[in-house]
């Protein structure tokens, strides 16, 4: 049994069908990449998994439990964290307030302090800027804050939406390094990326999406050498 199992998922925006019957698995301990062009439905899938939009048909199960209809806020305490597209940090709150909100579902104060130390260790810049208002951070720093905030909830599965979007190449490399480190610590990662090259380089399994359907699936390293993928997504 996979950690996350998505079966025949269908999602509509009004009458427009955005997701047309998708099935995929996320195995525990792996990095799974969903790649595809703009509008392929990558973000919609993530939003449906974490309960921000309802599905029309299909099931999502996590650690053996059906979470298709579970309200989004309950998933956090079940161990799923979501780093949304565009970071969506609380721009008017400080870095520290943002991180503490990430631990909203946790009540143990001592544990919160130790988790905070762990996040500061992983992102030293967040520690330096802990009293700064999040809206004044650079894009890369905001991305780190969004990731640190997600880690504050002690997730077993972390869902990341376009973490490299709009970042300078130096930050892109740093962010992908961090994703690998988070995964090595035992957190399963479901990664949505337009930067297919980077995503496939760190992923175990990958799925290629086109207009709401999975058109290719397989081992990430093999997909990297697939001619179709090379042509469409790796611009070679």
């Amino acid at each position: 049994m996979a950690m996350l199992e998505v079966r025949n998922l269908e999602v509509f925006y009004g009458v427009i069908q955005a997701i047309k019957g998708i099935s995929f698995d996320v195995n525990q301990g792996e990095i799974i990449a969903l790649i595809g062009a703009n509008g392929a439905g990558k973000t919609t899938i993530l939003h449906t998994i974490t309960g921000l939009i309802p599905s029309k048909a299909g099931t999502i199960s996590y650690e053996g439990k059906d979470i298709t209809k579970t309200p989004g806020y309950k998933l956090v305490s079940m161990g799923i964290a979501h780093v949304p597209e565009g970071r969506r940090v609380f721009a008017q709150l400080t870095v520290l307030q943002n991180l503490k909100l990430g631990a909203f579902t946790r009540n143990d104060k001592a544990e919160l302090e130790s988790t905070l130390e762990m996040v500061y260790e992983r992102f030293p810049r967040l520690k330096e800027r802990r009293n700064q208002v999040a809206g004044t951070l650079s894009g890369g720093e905001q991305q780190m804050l969004a990731m640190g905030r997600a880690l504050m909830s002690h997730p077993r599965l972390i869902v990341m939406d376009e973490p490299s979007m709009g970042l300078s190449p130096i930050y892109v490399n740093e962010i992908f390094d961090i994703i690998q480190k988070i995964n090595k610590d035992g957190v399963t990662v479901l990664l949505v990326e337009q930067n297919a090259k980077k995503a496939l380089a760190i992923a175990d399994q990958a799925y290629v999406l086109e207009t709401g359907k999975i058109v290719l699936r397989g081992d990430a390293k093999e997909l990297m050498n697939n001619d179709q993928v090379k042509k469409a997504y790796l611009s070679e």
């Binding site: 609380f90 008017q92 709150l93 909100l101 990430g102 579902t105």
Partner: protein
């Protein structure tokens, strides 16, 4: 010396506006809606105190507690029944619903309590304070009102900054979706906001009716509108803005009554709003709308 006395009673009136404006501004900031029925919650609170103290003859403390309980339940129920189903509807639909709720409450009160004016007996029994050798007389109502205003402001600021629920409110006010991703129950947070706003309306009801003891089904309308002006004046969505806006409004109203014309005082108050909005569209403490993307 008379200036001081007008100023102090202006601050007192302003404290009432501020307490009501806090309810408006919190609901606006967190639920992103203008709850035009907020003023009528004050009227309901006034009737509850009147019934408990005058009709049933119980102590004012029981009356105040009953008003807080009834208003809180009423506010949360109105949100649950009338506003929550419209969470994703257009802001205009929610606004019209709020106006509908306002008329509903006013007419229910008319039906239940009749059209005659009830004379509210002040529940504040404090002796007036004599200052400057008896030249400056400050009534017990004024003192209690100003003190209540200060306590509410400090209490609310601490609540928002020091409690998890308060932080959840800030998160929901900024980004509902992101707040959900933190594990925050947005509906519950909005309910708590309505509960606090309505409890504050009950406190305002006691203070307002003690100062202006004529109680009718329309009692809440004027202070409701003025508090709305105060909230916009201070920058809607901002808690310190509601406090500053409320007090300034009370002072402006009282001073124009004293020195210009008591008939024109409302016109002056609303003109000030128009001028403020022309010069600073986001109000005194309003957030600059600039976000880094």
């Amino acid at each position: 010396m008379s200036f001081m006395s007008y100023l102090i009673s202006g601050i007192s009136l302003g404290s009432v506006y501020a307490i009501i404006a806090l309810g408006y501004t919190m609901v606006y900031g967190i639920a992103k809606m203008l709850n035009f029925a907020h003023g009528d919650i004050i009227m309901v609170g006034g009737y509850v105190v009147f019934i408990v103290t005058s009709t049933m003859g119980m102590s004012p403390v029981v009356g105040i507690l009953a008003a807080v309980v009834v208003c809180t339940i009423l506010g949360v129920t109105v949100e649950r029944v009338a506003y929550r189903p419209l969470r994703d509807a257009s802001p205009l639909a929610v606004l019209i619903t709020a106006i509908g709720v306002s008329y509903l409450l006013q007419n229910l009160a008319l039906l239940l309590f009749g059209a005659d004016t009830k004379s509210f007996t002040s529940v504040i029994t404090m002796e007036p304070l004599k200052l400057a050798g008896g030249q400056l007389l400050i009534s017990g109502e004024t003192i209690v009102t100003i003190l209540s205003g200060i306590i509410v402001m400090i209490g609310l600021t601490l609540f928002i900054n020091k409690t998890k629920t308060g932080q959840a409110m800030l998160a929901v006010s900024e980004d509902r979706g992101a707040a959900t991703l933190m594990g925050i129950n947005v509906n519950k947070t909005i309910s708590v906001t309505f509960a606090i706003g309505s409890a504050l309306a009950a406190v305002a009801a006691v203070l307002y009716c003690s100062a202006y003891p004529a109680l009718t089904s329309q009692t809440g309308a004027m202070p409701g509108i003025k508090a709305f002006v105060a909230a916009v004046f201070g920058g809607i969505g901002s808690i310190p803005g509601a406090m500053i806006g409320g007090i300034l409004l009370g002072v402006i109203e009282n001073l124009s009554k004293a020195y210009i014309s008591s008939q024109l005082s409302d016109a002056i108050v609303f003109s000030v709003l128009i001028i403020v909005l022309l010069v600073r569209p986001t109000g005194i403490m309003g957030r600059k709308i600039s976000e880094k993307v």
